[in-house]
Symmetry: C2
Subunit: 228 residues, 2 copies
DNA sequence: TCCAAGATGCAGACTGGTTGGTATGTCACA
DNA sequence: TGTGACATACCAACCAGTCTGCATCTTGGA
């Protein structure tokens, strides 16, 4: 909804209000953001190929001219969704929390992250935007695939680095191939998201979280057992 | 290609040749099968929504009249793909091998099955047909979702029963909740298929298989350790 | 055994609606 | 007064689905 209005936007708005009273006529950056957000929602609902330009426009009260002024084509719009929204979501949910947990146990951090993944019906039914797009487009459009691949890579790298820190701290088992362990975690999370999406049942997701958390606990180093 | 011509078709053909020389004019079941196979391939390539009826027809040299004689609508065609092709693939790759391995170690059987999942570039890029359809359609069409759900359920049930047998035989750990363990395995397989599909790299898939196999080995009962 | 007649299986032109994209005009703003 | 930021009418392509017509097959009766 209003998620898109970032701090920068607010600042620009304030600056304008000092100069002129005109509140928000001709605010191209805002228009672009609204289009992006609406496009993301539409793509999240129907997939990229079936997402309708007209539907996006109807949802934003923006006209076609404006859209094609800001984005060269439907594909370009898709690329922007990946790079500016999907990538940001991954950073927000995974990478930053992992970086913030500098001195904590990375396994605790990962458990917290997995448990914090929202289980609202809307998210459940919609699945993971990253997986949705990868599933649909990676085979059809190399441009899509490369951009998605970057996100996957960053995701895996973030987990790997956190686990490496944990190894140095003696909290994570030494016998693990960390890159593979990170991929394994990602595969589990995505796999369960697919299952839950199809089942449309929060229980399925909760079961998944339980099992993933159990598996994560098994990564602790010998002296780091917390609870059964 | 010619997979669709089943034994029944051959028998009918023989019978016909006795009556008249006409080789295969007017063979409705064969026509239906060819349409189904071509439709499956097209849906596998582009997704259901973006699959074009005309493309399917072009691939089969069948006309629109024939298609809409055999299938009420595009959706009906999709349902048939799920129930007759995708479900069959699951039975073929998972359920029957598990049933066949009656007296063997079910964990060995599962390892064999996972390792036997083809890693050809075509399959890698295309991903798992079941997941593809679930990912795309389960949220948009309840009819699709229900049919896919049945397959998932049968899949999970098949694994659960195999593991239960293993428990009776003392080959599988007693502390497992088998239904959850089965779902966990499915989630892992699907998750890695998504990763491999996006990476388009056989190494990713092989790594996945290694890790899944390792995890499967950890399900063995104490007296059933085979190797590292 | 043969033929008539209805049913089956299919051919292919056609349609109405939707789609991404464009061309041109216009208004705000610096 | 020019350029940035739109608005709107328009278009060609596409797409699922339909309709009519026709060949082939099956069936029932003589």
């Amino acid at each position: 909804m209003v998620i898109g209005s970032c701090k920068l936007g607010g600042m620009l708005l304030a600056r304008k209000n000092l100069k002129r009273r005109a509140p928000r006529l001709r605010d191209p950056e805002r228009t672009r953001q609204r289009l992006l957000q609406a496009a993301f929602r539409e793509v999240y609902r129907c997939g990229f190929q079936s997402a309708g330009i007209d539907t996006i426009l109807a949802a934003t009260n923006v006209t076609k001219g404006a859209l094609y002024y800001h984005f060269e084509s439907k594909e370009a719009l898709g690329y922007a969704i990946i790079e500016e929204i999907v990538a940001e979501m991954t950073r927000d949910r995974w990478l930053r929390p992992l970086q913030r947990s500098k001195d904590e146990d990375p396994i605790d951090a990962l458990i917290g992250i997995v448990q914090a993944i929202p289980a609202r019906p809307k998210n459940l039914k919609g699945g993971c935007p990253l997986v949705n797009l990868a599933q649909e487009m990676s085979q059809l459009d190399e441009q899509f695939r490369k951009r998605l691949e970057r996100i996957f890579h960053a995701w895996q790298e973030g987990i790997t680095m956190a686990l490496r820190r944990g190894q140095y701290q003696g909290r994570v088992r030494r016998d693990l191939v960390l890159e593979e362990t990170a991929s394994f975690l990602i595969a589990m999370v995505e796999g369960y998201e697919v299952l839950a999406k199809n089942a449309q049942d929060a229980k399925v997701w909760k079961m998944g979280v339980r099992n993933i958390v159990g598996w994560l606990s098994s990564l602790r180093a010998a002296g780091n057992r917390k609870r059964g």
